[in-house]
Symmetry: D2
C-alpha cells in the first residue's frame, strides 16, 4: 500500500494525543488511582486508537480509490487493499 | 446509499447462517446448556455479524467507489458515504 | 462452567429479539433496501449480541463468584472461568 | 472502586509497552511508511490496549469479588462495580 498523504499532520496530531493519554494511564497506575478511573482512561485510549485507525482507512480510500484521475487498475488495487484491511482489522 | 448489488445472494446466505446460529443460542438456553458453551455460541454469532458487516461495506466500496466507469462525483459521493459508515460502525 | 440460572427468561427474551432483528436484515436484503439501512440493521444486531454476551457474563459473575454462601474453592473456580471468558471474548 | 493491587507491576509493564508501540506508530507516520504497515502497528496498539483492559478487569474480579475472606456486602459491591464496567466497556 502506498504512502499516507492528505492529512498526515492530522494523523500525527492524533498519535501524539494518544501518547499523552497512555502517559495518563501510566501516571494513574503509579499513583494508585482507583481502578474505575484507570479503566476510564484506558477506554479513552481505545476510543482514540479506533478513531486513528478509521482515519487512516478513510485516507487510503480517498487517495487510492476515490481520487479523480486514477486509472481503473490503480483503483482496483486500492480497493483490494482496502477490502483486505477492512476484513482483517474490523474487530 | 444505493442498493446492494454484486453479491446479494452471498449476503443472504450469511444472514440465513446467522439466523441458524441464533437459533442454536436459543436452544442452548432452553436446554440449560453450560454457560461457557452458550458464550461460545454467542461469540460465533458476533463473529458472523462482524463478517456480514465487512462484506456489505466491501460491496459498497466495489460498486460505488471503485467500479470502472463511474463519474468523479459518483465516486466522491460513494466514498463520503463509506467514510461515514466506517467512522460510525467501527467499534 | 455450570448452568445459567438467575435470569434465563431475560436472556431468552434477548435472544428472541435478536432473532427478530436478524429476520429484519434478511427482509432488507430481499427487498433490496438501501445499503445504509441494512448496515444500520446489522449494527443493531451487533449491539444486541454484545449486550447478550455481557448479561451472560454478569449472570455468571453473580451466580458463581459473588453469591453469598459459596466456598472459597467454588469462587476461585468461578473467577478463573470468568477470567478465561473475559480474555477470550473481549474483542 | 478501590485500588489496583495484585499485579500493578505487570500492568505498568503493559502500559510502558503500549507507549513504545505508540511511539512506533508516530515514527512510521513521520517516516512516511506504507499505509498498510502503519495500520498493522495501530492494530497492535489496539490489541495491547484491549489486553490491558482485560487484565485490569480480572484484577478487580480477583481482589474485590473472589478473594477469600471478603464479606458478602464487599463482594456484592465489587460485583456490582464489575458488572457496570463490563456493560459500559464491552464494545
Amino acid at each position: 500500500m502506498p504512502h499516507l498523504s492528505r492529512n498526515d499532520s492530522d494523523l500525527l496530531a492524533r498519535v501524539k494525543r494518544i501518547a499523552g493519554q497512555v502517559a495518563a494511564v501510566e501516571r494513574g497506575l503509579t499513583e494508585k488511582a482507583p481502578c474505575a478511573d484507570i479503566l476510564h482512561l484506558v477506554a479513552a485510549v481505545r476510543g482514540a486508537v479506533n478513531g486513528l485507525m478509521d482515519e487512516i482507512i478513510v485516507d487510503h480510500l480517498d487517495q487510492h480509490v476515490a481520487k479523480p484521475g486514477l486509472g481503473d487498475a490503480e483503483r482496483a488495487t486500492g480497493a483490494a487493499e482496502l477490502a483486505t484491511v477492512i476484513r482483517r482489522y474490523s474487530k
